[in-house]
Subunit: 255 residues, 2 copies
């Protein structure tokens, strides 16, 4: 799936690109089957909302699930990542967030992704990209991602460390910084049917509320990183921040 020049320009300007209907029919069913197996499995790699609480993130799903390992090398995800990053990429992180219903998920405060990766993993530059695959429908009712268009162009903004979730320290942006970014760029919400692909810049300002609806909002987040953009001082484990820089190839390129 090749992005057009216009789509790439839009991504560079806004910091995100929403592509509805990328996965549908049998391909979507296959992904949702893998999702259900991950949910049912007894896994060591999950983050929880609280001790004994619902799952906040299923990390490294591609280790357990061949379907998700294939997704990492799929033209729908890998090709846009290579186009935008302009070269060979490796997989830095794979997580699936369920956004637990009935308020089970506390949501995510306003943050950027890259500052955490720089601080905790020593990622040299922001030469990475998030490719989100919606595994459930995302509506205004189950805690969609709120994005601030264009905010990625201001680089790393002022944040503070918060340890709201066991095992996961978040760098939350200050209210002043968020207000200024939204004053400039507004807010959009990333809604769309299951099968939508949302690519977004690791420096875009984003957040989400809790999910008070009865509906889960499982999303797979694949983060690709340029193979030259090494983690110079990684402190986190491989299921969170991978230092395997082997370039990824499409199935068709390997054959």
């Amino acid at each position: 799936m090749e992005l057009t020049h216009e789509q790439i320009a839009q991504y560079q300007r806004d910091g995100y690109l929403s592509l509805p209907g990328v996965f549908a029919g049998a391909a979507l069913d296959t992904l949702r089957g893998a999702m259900r197996r991950i949910i049912a499995a007894d896994r060591d790699w999950n983050f929880y909302e609280s001790e004994g609480g619902p799952v906040r993130a299923y990390n490294a799903c591609h280790w357990d699930e061949p379907v998700f390992a294939d997704l990492v090398r799929a033209p729908e995800t890998l090709t846009p990542a290579r186009q935008i990053l302009g070269g060979d990429v490796h997989l830095f992180q794979f997580k699936m967030n369920p956004k637990a219903p009935f308020g089970g998920s506390t949501g995510w405060a306003w943050h950027q992704d890259y500052p955490r990766w720089k601080t905790s993993d020593g990622m040299t530059e922001n030469r990475a990209i998030n490719v989100a695959v919606f595994l459930d429908d995302v509506t205004e009712f189950n805690g969609p991602l709120f994005l601030v268009p264009g905010s990625h162009r201001d680089g790393v903004l002022d944040g503070e460390e918060h340890a709201n979730t066991p095992g996961l320290v978040a760098l939350e942006l200050t209210d002043t910084v968020v207000a200024r970014a939204i004053d400039a760029g507004g807010i959009v919400s990333a809604k769309g049917p299951a099968g939508t692909v949302l690519v977004f810049d690791p420096n875009i300002v984003h957040a989400s509320t809790s999910n008070i609806s009865p509906f889960t909002r499982h999303t797979a987040y694949l983060t690709y990183n340029h193979v030259e953009n090494r983690l110079v001082n990684p402190t986190r484990e491989q299921h969170i921040a991978s230092t395997d820089y082997t370039p990824l190839w499409l199935e068709t390129e390997v054959a």
Copy 2:
């Protein structure tokens, strides 16, 4: 402002009615001026999100603010209430909720209003109506009310007491009850520009998330009750549950 037969039928079927643009221009400016004075005032009647936290509800604003006292007798609010309740009404409750930004408000879990009034105030029957006046724009970003259409027709549902807010015990519906209601009726969100009037049945199932945006969402909630529908065992103070059954008249009727 007379509701049409169609609007009344719609209210009875769905349990709510949204009327955008009821207040605009100078009339809206006047209401927003009163809102700002209430915010700035030192008041004894407020509920807070937590000890020392932001305000959750400004109660009995019509006591302090002539503009809000007038609003209680305005054709835009009182006339629909009298039409729907079919007779003379009194004001049971007036509150203004700011929905504190940047996550300051924890939102409201799924609940119905009437069960609390029955339990705490001895309100005999559900012969009351909520008339909400939006004082700020309500968007998908600042914690709009989520309503379950038609859920008011099932009467009082199973709930549990939760004391999340100082001075305010909420009757929250169980997840099972909420899931069943939403399965039948779906969810709508009550969005609209400042000046919108939203009327809704005290038995409709509703909730809202926290407001993580920088934008407040001040809403005035006027609850009218039929004068015959007495509070037989009131336990709360007059600024929360009024037992003054004097019928309300429009300004034009008094003159």
